[in-house]
Symmetry: C2
Subunit: 220 residues, 2 copies
Amino acid sequence: MTKKKLGTWRIDRQLVEQISRHAAFGRRRKFKKNAMLYEQGEVSTRFYFVLKGLVQISIFRADGSEVVLELMGPETVCGEGSAFDGLPRFSSAAAIEDTEAIEFDTSKMTEIFRAHPEFATSLLRVTSLKQRVVAIRLKHLASREPQDRIMELLTRLEEMFAIDHPKGRLLVTHVTHEQIATMTGTSRVTVTRTLQRLREQNRIDIVDGHILLKRRPNTS
Amino acid sequence: MTKKKLGTWRIDRQLVEQISRHAAFGRRRKFKKNAMLYEQGEVSTRFYFVLKGLVQISIFRADGSEVVLELMGPETVCGEGSAFDGLPRFSSAAAIEDTEAIEFDTSKMTEIFRAHPEFATSLLRVTSLKQRVVAIRLKHLASREPQDRIMELLTRLEEMFAIDHPKGRLLVTHVTHEQIATMTGTSRVTVTRTLQRLREQNRIDIVDGHILLKRRPNTS
DNA sequence: GCCATCTCGTATAGGGCGATACAGCCCGGA
DNA sequence: TCCGGGCTGTATCGCCCTATACGAGATGGC
């Protein structure tokens, strides 16, 4: 179990198959590490189904600071929001590893939907799932408590990237305190302190550099 | 200019027409004030296009506290997220005024899309727009500064519900400090103080109980 | 007209977070 | 092997937010 980098997002197998089945409507593209899939502000009808690699989705504030929304690994969809509503991209997507993806274009989609309505349903499921994840993040970010914000991230990572462990669930994703800080809108120091506190509260543990979420008798 | 209650959300005319055109696939329903359109946790394939009234969308935290996501007025869509992804509702929707809406059911949607692919495209635009709004809210909620959080809400309200005024834009929506507090995740006192500070900074003004966003020479 | 309720303004005390700085650790490269 | 950089753990300090409380003004019911 090396420190493999994974994303922060996953969709279920059935949905992945549905989308893969319609891959012929898009074209395969490769992105070198540090290349941009798309940039905040541009208008585009393209969206991506990631096959390999890792893509970081972030929003840049007016003052230049960055809010990392997600890390999208294989078998995830990104960029579909702005591709469908036709407004400027609200986020940027950068390949942080060499990445392969299928690029779809929404401009011909209506006609494709006529012959393949199930593809429309699949895409609606994708956008709905994203809406859900973002709304739930909102619920927790609405709290000003760093502990809430951080536990939300950890729980989300657990659902997607944890493996069973005698004491609970072990996150195979490796994230630094710094990354947690930018994803939760707190400072790096506070992340360190909060994780420390969670350890004292016996809610988490650190095993070989990975975070272990302990089985909790009382629900959070 | 009475204190008319309006929502916090609006979609463009073209999209409204597109959806109205397919109203026959749903059925008209009425909800009395305080009735629930749907409740957090339930599984349902129904979603709503509000025609009249006002619906409050909120998420309840484990400790019982409420985060108000949106106030949906006429010509808005709600509930489509959980209706399409098939997972339990992550939010509740309560009519806070007598409300009329068209209730759609996603279970037969794939077949409808075959004959009306443009309806699928419209719905994708709706979900995409929602994703956008929530993501942008996330960007601001990621900040712990109350001023960021509150200005974000005001700016959003401005785009949707402001009228021109010699000095800037006047919000016709009336919101109490308390409501702003629950929507931005701060305390009522802080809202009062922050609005005070914004007034001193000459960024806003209060006119007849309504908030006026002053024309700003330098963009925020 | 009177009182209850809601909203807004303001004060105080306490705590926790941000900024900053620094030390120890691990790991990879020269 | 040694060095440098990134990551983690702490410490200090100042500031601002939360909780709480109270009063004034507006509003609405009776």
